[in-house]
Each structure stands twice: as structure tokens, then as C-alpha cells.
């Protein structure tokens, strides 16, 4: 108990850790909380003008035609559609009267001229439609068609939904901050592991020559880092929810479960960096900070389009990025409730954590070193 108590105290009093784990995320979330609603206040949702090439392939695709006509947002059609020829559509695009063109040949082609939220929504809609097209064909045989169509409309509406109100948009950014906080938990595991490994620090060597078993020491280290991380995340959630007034939805239990698993991933990442790099602690902290910020950026922390871009064009990165897994789990919970996507993200996080812990354990289990 004494060992736990003093290890806990030593960790809790670390100012660097306190800054990166609590103060920095609070500053960042306060900044987001103050600036984001204003930044998007001027933007309201408008129906997106697009052109669809009225060719034979399009006319034959009844399913697509009906979906396109039916998709709406806030009881307004999502798209204002002009059915025309490719030439005329090109002119409309050139004169910026439309955001993009959809042409159906053997497959769908989307033409846009600029980058913006309207283009992103159009792209999102089409990507989702195409991804589920084959499933739709199969499912149509034994399922109510209208339900399928509804699910597609719900699925593609997430970027549009972000325009619905400022708070919902802000929530997405705050999901990324929560993800970042979970990963920042790695600072604590990194710090503690540094003090357990004889080849990493003098304190590590001193611990290693004691009769206190390494397994017990590692278990204590894990419990301490995990519990401190969890408390910090609860403080962060409290701050974001009650002070900044951001709504995380109604699935509190599932949010906590996501955070619990997210911390495990962050903890494992910190442990892996801690044991695999034999450098001074501040160097490792710099590495972990950079890695975490980069992963958070890819998950949409700095701009939400990044998440969409990575999800669409580099899905492998999304699947191995723990920050994205946490963000996406919270995101799916917020927009779609408890769904398969949420559990898939949690499972991916667990796999990530197990992978990092396994690699770390292979290095940690050594009790003697070739050099220290």
C-alpha cells in the first residue's frame, strides 16, 4: 500500500503531467468553446444547388433518382437539382450557380470546381450512396425498401447536420479533445514506466535492485496511471459539459465506456513510447505530444473536413488512429445512438491497446540489461 501511495503522490505532483493532461486540454477546450460557436454563427444551412446529367443511365436508375429527390434536411430538400446535359451543367458549374455535377455512366462521377462545405456534403452523400449501393441491391430482396432509404439518408446527413446548430458542430470538436485527452494519458504511463525500467533512469535502477517484484511494480504503475487518467477525463467532461455547456448526448454510460477504453489506448501508447525509446524523459514527452497532436489532427481536431478526408481517402489511417476511433465512437453515439459503428471503434481501440501492451511487455519483461 505504501508503494502505491507514494508512487501515486509522486505522479500526481508532477507539474508537467498536470499541464499536458489537464491544463492544456482545458485551455484548448475553452478556446474552442469561445470561438467555435461564433465562427459558425454566420453560416446557416442552405439547400445545395447541383446538376444531374439527365442521360439514359440516370433515367434507368430509379432507386438513385428517388433517393436524390427524397433526401432532405430540416424538412427542406438537401439538394436543389437541375436535370440537364453535361455541357450546360459545365457552364452552370463554371458560373458557380451550382456546387457540383453528378453524372451516372457505368458508375457515378462527381465534378466540383471548388472546395467547401457544400461540395463536402455532396461528396459525402455520393460516397455513402455508392458504398451502400451493392448492399441495397441485395437487401432489397428481403427488406422494406423505405427503411433502407431512410438509413442512407440518415447516414449521409451528418455533415449537413453539423450545420444544424452551432452546438452540434462544437460537439464534434470536443469529441476530438476528449480523444486527445485519452491519448495524453500516455504521459502518465510514460512517466511511470521511466521510473520502473533500470535502463531508463537511476530511479528505475534503484527500483530494480529492490526485492519488490517487477510484475507488482508494473501493476501498480498501470493502476496509478489509469486511475489518474480517468479522474482527469471526468474533470474534463465536467468542465466541457457544465462550464462550457456542450451537450454530449444522453448515452452517459456509453460515453464513459468509450473514455475508459480510450484511456487504455492512450496508456498503452505512452507505455510503448516509454519502453521502446531510450532517451531522456522530456524527449519522449515531445515525441508523445507530437504523435498525439498529429493523430488528433487527422481525426478532425483542427478542422472537421480532415476527418472526412481521411475517412474517405485513407480509411486505413482512420482504422489504426486511436484518436479517430475515440472521436468516431463518440460521434456515432451522438448522432446514431448505440450502434455497430460505436462498438467497432471500441473493439479497434482494444486491439490497438493490446498490440501496444504486447510490444511493450516484450521489452519490459527483461530484468537484466546489456548496458544501462
Amino acid at each position: 500500500m505504501n508503494v502505491f501511495k507514494y508512487c501515486f503522490l509522486a505522479t500526481m505532483r508532477g507539474k508537467t503531467l498536470l499541464f499536458w493532461n489537464l491544463i492544456f486540454p482545458i485551455i484548448l477546450s475553452t478556446f474552442f468553446g469561445l470561438t467555435l460557436p461564433n465562427a459558425y454563427k454566420t453560416e446557416t444551412y442552405e439547400t445545395i444547388p447541383i446538376a444531374v446529367i439527365d442521360n439514359e443511365a440516370f433515367k434507368e436508375d430509379i432507386s438513385f433518382r428517388e433517393t436524390l429527390a427524397a433526401v432532405e434536411h430540416l424538412n427542406e430538400p438537401m439538394f436543389k437539382i437541375t436535370y440537364t446535359s453535361l455541357e450546360e451543367a459545365g457552364d452552370l458549374l463554371e458560373s458557380k450557380e451550382i456546387a457540383g455535377i453528378i453524372e451516372k455512366k457505368d458508375t457515378f462521377h462527381i465534378y466540383v470546381k471548388e472546395k467547401g462545405i457544400q461540395q463536402t456534403i455532396l461528396q459525402s452523400f455520393m460516397d455513402t450512396y455508392m458504398q451502400t449501393d451493392s448492399q441495397l441491391t441485395r437487401l432489397l430482396q428481403d427488406t422494406d425498401r423505405n427503411k433502407i432509404m431512410e438509413s442512407i439518408r440518415a447516414d449521409v446527413s451528418y455533415i449537413a447536420a453539423e450545420r444544424q446548430n452551432d452546438q452540434e458542430l462544437s460537439s464534434v470538436f470536443f469529441f476530438t479533445i476528449i480523444a486527445m485527452c485519452c491519448l495524453y494519458g500516455g504521459f502518465i504511463s510514460l512517466n511511470i514506466i521511466q521510473k520502473v525500467q533500470a535502463n531508463q533512469s537511476d530511479l528505475g535502477a534503484r527500483n530494480a535492485v529492490s526485492p519488490f517484484s517487477k510484475t507488482k511494480m508494473l501493476l501498480i504503475s498501470f493502476l496509478i496511471s489509469y486511475s489518474i487518467d480517468f479522474v482527469i477525463l471526468m474533470i474534463m467532461m465536467g468542465y466541457i459539459t457544465f462550464i462550457l455547456g456542450i451537450d454530449f448526448g444522453t448515452y452517459t454510460g456509453y460515453i464513459l465506456l468509450c473514455i475508459a477504453v480510450g484511456i487504455l489506448a492512450g496508456n498503452s501508447l505512452g507505455t510503448l513510447i516509454g519502453v521502446s525509446i531510450v532517451k531522456k524523459e522530456h524527449t519522449k514527452i515531445a515525441i508523445l505530444t507530437s504523435v498525439t497532436l498529429f493523430l488528433s489532427m487527422l481525426s478532425g481536431m483542427m478542422f472537421i473536413q480532415m476527418k472526412y478526408f481521411i475517412d474517405t481517402y485513407l480509411p486505413v489511417i482512420s482504422r489504426i488512429n486511436p484518436a479517430n476511433m475515440i472521436t468516431d465512437a463518440l460521434y456515432s453515439l451522438y448522432y446514431y445512438g448505440v450502434c455497430e459503428r460505436y462498438f467497432m471503434n471500441l473493439a479497434s481501440l482494444l486491439v490497438f491497446a493490446i498490440f501496444c501492451y504486447t510490444l511493450s511487455y516484450r521489452m519490459i519483461r527483461r530484468k537484466q540489461y546489456a548496458s544501462i
Binding site: Y6, D202, A205, V209, P211, Q368, S371
Partner: protein
């Protein structure tokens, strides 16, 4: 026998850090491991503690083979590292309590031992201080307290007085003697020969990972040719006079450089008298005169051809 090391070989790639190193330590000894930086002292300690893998040889402590899992052996060893290894975020008292609790499960006994350790290193008035608020000497004393609080039978101190002021150094040496009087066997590594002469009952001299000599300070000094060294300042001599000095009884080496004369003698009586008589006879004026008995540095110099601090 507390420690028995046979034929220990430790290589760092092509560098041989310990070259068939032997060491035996009897109960109650204060053994000084003396050698220049890089001679293998710390490597020997780390191998002894099973922190480092070694290539060849055997290490037995308290009559049993020492391994990384030898927790019963480790329970009776106290280690004071070369660098101060404490938590900066814990107070003096908390640091000692943490390290003591790694060895002692009983909370009340641990508390009692912590109090004793604080008194032992005389840090009572600093018990609530964080290490960063302590001077270098006080931090060293805290480092020692953390290593010995659990009352080990064997205490290994790896250069505990590096960068410490003379007052703190004396306190530390005094403490080591006290520990020994309380029954602990001590291994003390340093490159300060004065400290070794002051406290060690036996000395092992290491160079390039090898034990090059061992014995008490007197025994080691008796091993070398040099028995007396006389230095004379501000003296002017010509070659004839220098040659005459070289031919004096028991002289085996004369160095004359920039008005400074150093004459080395083998064992013999009245060496100083003979030298001064000759200078008087030649009517040579001179400044200060020093006569010194050989030091451990002279022992090291004569055996290896270089000084301990080279």
C-alpha cells in the same frame, strides 16, 4: 563470505569492461573499490546487483547465486547510487518511506526505520523539504538514507561523495563508519584515494576491468619501491649537483624542473637528513621542503604508469 565473485567478464561490444575480475568480501569489512573513471567499478557493482548481464563468471552473495529474481538476497542489500536517485515530487521523509517500503512490508516498522534513517543522516529539519530545495550535500545524504533505511546487511555505495563539499563529505564518511559499526558490510567505490585510506579496512585497486592490487593501505604501499618522496621548492642546481643527489643512498629517481626538485627514495633511514646535508655542504639555497610518505596514487602510478585521476 558475504560476496564471492569469480572470473567475471563483461563486454560492451569490443570493449572489455571487466576482465576476469575476482572479488571476495568478508563480513564486517569496509572494502574500498578504487580505480580511475572507466576502470569498471560501477560495472562490477551493476553486475553484482544483477542489473547487467555478464558474459562469463559467477557471483555469489550471502553464499547463494545472485540473480535478478533473488529477492531474499536483495532484501539484505542497500544500494546508494552514483547519481542521486530520488523522486523530486516527494519530500525527504516520503522518499525515504517509499524506498524503505520496497523492502519492509510492516508499516509500523517501516515508519520507525524511516525515522532512524532521517536521524542517521541528520536531515530532521529538512524532512518536509523536496529534494530540489536541498543543497548538493544534503541531497547526497538523502540518497544515502534511501539506500540504508531498511537496515541492510550489505551496503554498496557507488561514489557517494562526488561533487560534495568537504563538510558534507566528512559527515558521509562518518555515517559509513557508523553503519559498519552497527554491523553492515560495506563496499565503497571511489576514485578519491584519501577517502579510501580514511575509512576502508581493505582496498581493491581496479584498472581496465582488472584487479591489479589488493590489501590494506599499508600493505599496498609496502608493495611499491617508493617509500619516501621529498620535494624542494625554489632551488637552483647544476648537472653535477643533480648527479651527486642521484648517487645519495636509497635515491631511485630525481626530477628537476623549473626550480622544483623531487627526489624519490626506497626504504631507508635519514633520507631527508642526507639530502639536506648535501645541499648545506654545497651551500645551495632553497625554499620550502616537503617530505611525504607514499600515497595510494603512488601505488597506482607505479603499477600502471598513470595517476588515479588521469
Amino acid at each position: 563470505m558475504i560476496i564471492q565473485i569469480d572470473n567475471l567478464v563483461k563486454r560492451y561490444k569490443s570493449l572489455i569492461a571487466l576482465d576476469h575480475f575476482h572479488l571476495e568480501v568478508e563480513e564486517g569489512e569496509i572494502l574500498g573499490l578504487l580505480g580511475p573513471n572507466g576502470s569498471g567499478k560501477t560495472t562490477a557493482i551493476n553486475c553484482m546487483l544483477s542489473l547487467l548481464k555478464y558474459d562469463k563468471g559467477s557471483i555469489r552473495i550471502f553464499g547463494r547465486d545472485m540473480t535478478a529474481e533473488s529477492y531474499d538476497i536483495k532484501r539484505n542489500i542497500g544500494i546508494v547510487m552514483q547519481n542521486v536517485a530520488v523522486f523530486d515530487t516527494l519530500s525527504v521523509e516520503e522518499n525515504i518511506a517509499y524506498f524503505c517500503s520496497l523492502y519492509i512490508k510492516d508499516r509500523w516498522l517501516c515508519k520507525q526505520y524511516v525515522e532512524e534513517a532521517i536521524r542517521f543522516v541528520e536531515l530532521q529539519e529538512y524532512r518536509k523539504f523536496r529534494p530540489s530545495k536541498l543543497s548538493g550535500g544534503l541531497r547526497r545524504r538523502l540518497n544515502i538514507a534511501c539506500g540504508i533505511a531498511h537496515k541492510p546487511k550489505l551496503v554498496i555505495l557507488d561514489e557517494p561523495t562526488v561533487a560534495v563539499d568537504p563538510q558534507s563529505r566528512n559527515k558521509i564518511l562518518e555515517g559509513i563508519r557508523k553503519l559498519n559499526q552497527q554491523g553492515a558490510t560495506i563496499i565503497y567505490t571511489t576514485h578519491y584515494m584519501e577517502e579510501v585510506e580514511q575509512i576502508c579496512t581493505r582496498i581493491v585497486i581496479l584498472d581496465k576491468g582488472k584487479q591489479i592490487a589488493e590489501g590494506t593501505a599499508e600493505q599496498l604501499k609496502a608493495m611499491i619501491t617508493l617509500k619516501e618522496k621529498i620535494d624542494i621548492e625554489q632551488i637552483a642546481l647544476d648537472e653535477r649537483q643533480l648527479q651527486a643527489i642521484r648517487e645519495l643512498a636509497n635515491v631511485f629517481d630525481v626530477v628537476y624542473n623549473q626550480s622544483h626538485l623531487q627526489v624519490k627514495f626506497t626504504k631507508g633511514k635519514q633520507n631527508l637528513m642526507n639530502l639536506l646535508d648535501y645541499l648545506k655542504q654545497e651551500d645551495v639555497p632553497f625554499g620550502k621542503v616537503y617530505s611525504q610518505l607514499p600515497t595510494l596514487n603512488d601505488v597506482f602510478l607505479e603499477i600502471t604508469g598513470k595517476g588515479l585521476r588521469d
